[in-house]
Amino acid sequence: MAQTEARETAATETVPLPVEMAVQEGRFNLRKLLVVIVLYLAAFWTLVPMYWVAISSIKSLRDLAHIPPRFFPTDPRLDAWVTIFERRILENVYNSLVVATLATIICLIISVPAAYAATRMRLPFKFVAIVVGLMGLVALLPPIASAIPLFLLGSDLGIIDEKYTLIILYTVLNTAFAVWVLRGTFMDVPMDVEEAALMDGDTRFGAVRRILLPLIFPSLFSIAILLFIFNWNEYIIALYFVNSMKTMTLPIAIQAQIPQHELDWGVVSAAGTIAVFPVLVAAFTLQRFLVRGLTFGVASGQ
């Protein structure tokens, strides 16, 4: 209980100055000061572009074009937001949500049993190494390399410009990564615990459902979030497979705001802000899970 309280107060405090953070046990620590400064710089480096996009969406044209650039809008307005909603951006949000969510869920449904088999079944080591190795290779392949062949295949099959096509493709492209990470997670759970469940009278499926999955739930959840973010941000494949408003996902919609002539930075920025929003929400609310999930599977030696 004390721990959660401490965490809550820490979260509501204002951001401390680097010099304050460098004082440890009443003594000033130069090393720590440097570390904190570097971290602050990194945070600044990451957050400023997001701030810039968000602020640009409510700037007037004069502020947008002003040199030197203005960090605070002098004449905030919502014109760009009105325009972007008029251009039915919510339909794109809906498309992105449907595609990203379903692709994530299906990907997990496929990769959880696959990763389980790769860790728990006594398969010949070479077989596992080859299969998992090949899957890793797919994960490392740049998407653009597969986009064109996939497009040709898709047009032959007549499934271009369908949401389900995107869902299938995203599922396939992420499965390798998911199996890879889940495998590490499964290996962290001792076999004993599952065998105990078998001895207690459970089926293998029951042992996985009642014992294994609840134990790795935090990692499973963070892997799901990661997959969702990958899918949410995906651009290259969508570029080839989206032809109409029916399937247009957010990244494509943002790009579509850039017309041939007369670029309206405000509208593009508003669309960008919408795209970043769910990712930020996910990252902030789940950051504890996210951090644990990324290290949980990898650093199994600890």
Binding site: V193, E195, A196, A197, L198, M199, G201
Partner: protein
Amino acid sequence: MAEVRIEGLTKYFGDTCAVNQLNLVVNDGDLVVLLGPSGCGKTTTMRCVAGLERPTYGDIYIGETRVNDLEPRERDVALVFQSYALYPHFTAFDNIAYPLRLRKTPKDEIERRVRDVAEMLGITHTLERPPGLCSGGEQQRIALGRAIVREPVVFLMDEPLSNIDALLRVYMRAEIKRLQHELGTTMIYVTHDQVEGMTMADQIAVMNQGTLQQLGTPTEIYDMPANNFVARFVGSTPMNFIPGALQKENGKTVHKSDQFVIPVSTEMADRAAELCPGGVCTLGVRPEEIRFSMDDEGTNQARVFLLEPLGSETILDIEKEGLLLKVKDVAATQVREGDVLSLSFNRFHLFDDETGAAIR
């Protein structure tokens, strides 16, 4: 309640033979200890009985049923793991209740049986806690509770005491034995600790390199080891071994080594002539079976080079021409380091050097 019958059990992992042609009958209600060094196949044997491993060859019967092709859950066997393997995301209560819930036991009955078992094991106060917040001894008892609560036909224990501290271990082994007696359930208990094996077992099965070396009561195993492996493995102060050969001297058979000449009874000599015609054999004698006197007469003399006081007794380390012997003496020993003792060998065993088998 049931007997467990293992017939010709053989288990290969790849090319490695973990268990080789094992035959073993565990009588209904007995506590049988599988004893052996690590890698001797005792855990594999137990896992085959549990159903977590499939035998390569051979049959396993529980009661009258051949269980080779049955899943663990169909065998009605409970297993306590070395690591306890408790479910960390459940409370102790839910851990113990888990096997009952899987059997769709009515809720009030689960409540009653879990509480009964917890009381029997003295862990009622831990029931609402997750195992992570319980001490090692409490976790051990929770694991026992989970095995006991569903009243299985056979208990399997895989070194359940090796992770708790030495003092608690002494209490727990008595407690497990008492529980087993009270419940009357057949138990197979795996350990590499010969003291645990000796104190708990009705029958001990000593294993080495996948084969059964000897099956017998603790007394039989201790007093009449079937071969030099069993003799070496059992006994907290190990048996002394004196390599040599049988010879005739003045019409009597003696075991003659570089260090000692030890007379052998005619009965034993006859058996040896039959079983070990070459006569090359090693004499094994337990530390408490060596008598000594302080006078410096007699043929078998040796010098004490170290005393090991153990409180309740003293071990005399004796050396003669490169051969080391350990001899038990009372705590208040009169012997001092450097003394020369004259030794006599009370009860001893002869082991054929070629086969390692005992001559008797």
